[in-house]
């Protein structure tokens, strides 16, 4: 059997067996192990798994994941989310659809200290949904903006997806973080615009909220302070080259802890809950990373990624067509497979193709994050929608999926905008050395 054939069997086995509910990280490790063994030798495969697992688990660079997850969890358990919503609410709550717009603004703010979509959606759902309900917002709009706004968690730095992408492709995590800022701002504005349009078409969806005085507005601004402090500390240190990403994560988590303690918003129970969630989420992510590393080594010895890159180049298609096809694969795949796992599965195959076509690796990272955002809000496995439905138990899933549609349109437009205008992602990183 030729190596290419073994590789293809491995790939097909992975795609089929993934639907048996085997944890994705385990499955990638097991198929990678068997495939590597079939091509090289059993001894080499045994050596490979032990080495890959140990070097992934004990990697200094990957320790950034538990740290940023911990930071987000601390922010979640100490109510920073509620204060963020309060600011946005005081300023734009009285517009039609204003509370929904405020929710998106607050999600963007929380994303600046949290690196995952589901933590952002869960946090902001708990803070914003009751308010919108109180002012008779239709459940579809209310839950839709939380699910979509929560997806900003991975575009606006810090971001677990950027970290994982950066490590798999050996790109600078700092640059990836910076590249996410402008698209994040653009997308936030586009989300807000789509709420405005939607509410204009159907004013009953989101009636205007209460007015607030200038004094109340100014007072609420204090809630923004801690996020600005944390964000500028973490990102500033990273941009200035004072911190490595791992150090930025450690400093960020510590800063969040200190602020929560000073404000007396975090008790022992909240602290241990944050830690428990941190180890669970980190372990899940790292198991997928380790599995993807083993699978990637298997793919590398089959040379399939290079063959595919050559094969696609042979068609002589315009590179934008190839990019649209890759985005299409993510959109379809993202409907069925967890978004983070999908990235890990496909990066070893798509990345060489994309680089071969002359695309910028940092830019492609931003594209990957944005298609992941689409993946987390599309049925049937849009994780953010499930998270929101966990918070809003009285709203049926279909209603949330429908509520997401206008945001989804904005998200797709924003992603496509990045193809002709890569500067949106690349301008800020170009300023950094």
């Amino acid at each position: 059997m030729s190596n290419t054939l073994i590789g293809l069997i491995g790939l097909i086995a992975l795609v089929v067996l993934i639907f048996t509910r085997m944890p994705i990280g385990f499955l990638m490790a097991i198929i990678g192990f068997i495939g590597f063994g079939a091509i090289v030798s059993t001894d080499a495969a045994l050596h490979l798994i032990v080495n890959d697992i140990f070097s992934a688990f004990a990697s200094y660079n990957l320790t950034v994941i538990p740290l940023f997850v911990f930071m987000g969890q601390l922010a979640f358990h100490s109510g920073i989310s509620g204060r963020l919503f309060d600011v946005a609410y005081k300023f734009i709550g009285r517009l039609p659809g204003g509370l929904a717009i405020a929710t998106i603004g607050a999600c963007a703010g929380f994303s600046a200290i949290c690196g995952s979509t589901n933590a952002t959606a869960a946090t902001m759902g708990a803070a914003c949904l009751p308010e919108m309900k109180r002012y008779n917002y239709k459940p579809g709009l209310a839950t839709g903006v939380v699910a979509a706004g929560g997806s900003l968690g991975i575009l606006i730095p810090p971001s677990v997806v950027f970290i994982v992408y950066g490590i798999l492709t050996e790109q600078s995590i700092g640059k990836l973080f910076i590249a996410g800022i402008l698209p994040g701002v653009l997308l936030t504005i586009m989300f807000m615009a789509s709420v405005l349009i939607w509410v204009r078409l159907n004013p009953e969806l989101g009636p205007p909220g209460p007015k607030s005085t200038i004094k109340e507005k100014l007072k609420s601004l204090a809630g923004l302070g801690e996020v600005i402090v944390l964000f500028s500390m973490v990102m500033g240190g990273l941009f200035a080259g004072i911190f490595t990403p791992t150090e930025a994560g450690g400093i960020g988590a510590f800063g969040t802890l200190v602020i929560s303690l000073i404000r007396r918003k975090l008790d022992w129970k909240g602290f241990t809950a944050a830690l428990g969630e941190t180890t669970r989420i980190s372990c899940m992510i790292m198991m997928i990373v380790a599995g993807a590393t083993i699978f990637g080594h298997f793919m590398a010895v089959t040379r399939i990624p290079f063959d595919i890159a050559q094969w696609i180049a042979g068609f002589d298609l315009h590179r934008a067509v190839v990019m649209l096809m890759i985005i299409g694969v993510f959109l379809v795949g993202g409907c069925f497979i967890d978004a983070l796992a999908l990235i890990m599965l496909t990066i070893p195959i798509f990345y060489p193709v994309v680089i071969h076509l002359g695309y910028d690796p940092i830019w492609f990272g931003v594209i990957i994050v944005m298609v992941t955002q689409i993946g987390v809000i599309t049925p049937p496995v849009g994780i953010n929608v499930y998270v929101v439905s966990g918070v809003a138990r009285d709203v049926p899933l279909e209603v949330i999926f429908k509520g997401v549609v206008p945001m989804l349109i904005a998200l797709i437009i924003a992603t496509l905008l990045l193809i002709p205008f890569p500067q949106i992602a690349l301008f800020l990183p170009s300023l950094v050395r």
Partner: protein, 161 residues
């Protein structure tokens, strides 16, 4: 079987405490190092310490994460299968997982012994690395036991019907 389950759950939770403490330690080491760096006295070997503690975070939370059903899997088609088919597929998966993590535990154990014999240490502060590889071996063994228990449960469920 319930007794075994109780023991495994309790061990996993204790292991997870090790992981959680490691998260706090990593954060502390980094903060202290960054602060001391301002006074030109950084902690030597911070990168080694953080990396090795990081391995404790992930390996010691493997069992707990599995018990909490925290490892991401695709449930989309599986949920639409008839109950018996789900049971059979589930049992096979648990068995495959049990074997794989048993192999991983055994190989990590051998690797740790080798590292110990050769006196392998971390690059900057000469901290021995083998205890952390032992940690991975023990954690993989625990995960293998948990998966074996799941296998027994699934098989029982299938046979009962």
């Amino acid at each position: 079987m319930q007794r075994i389950e109780k023991i495994l759950t309790s061990v996993s939770e204790k292991f997870n405490v090790v992981a959680a403490v490691s998260v706090v330690l990593i954060m502390t080491v980094i903060v202290v190092d960054v602060v001391l760096r301002f006074f030109r006295h950084p902690i030597p070997g911070t990168i080694d310490i953080v990396g090795l503690l990081g391995s404790l975070v992930i390996s010691f939370s493997l069992g707990y994460t599995s018990i909490q059903k925290g490892h991401i899997a695709v449930e989309f088609l599986y949920d639409k299968l008839p109950e018996k088919a789900r049971g059979v597929i589930g049992a096979i998966n648990e068995l495959v997982g049990t074997v794989f993590f048993a192999i991983l535990a055994w190989q990590s154990f051998i690797f740790a012994l080798k590292l110990k014999a050769s006196g392998e240490v971390s690059p900057t502060i000469q901290m021995p690395t083998y205890p952390f590889v032992f940690g991975i071996a023990v954690s993989c063994a625990l995960l293998s036991f948990i998966l074996a228990l799941n296998f027994a449960r699934e098989t029982r469920g299938v046979l009962k019907k």
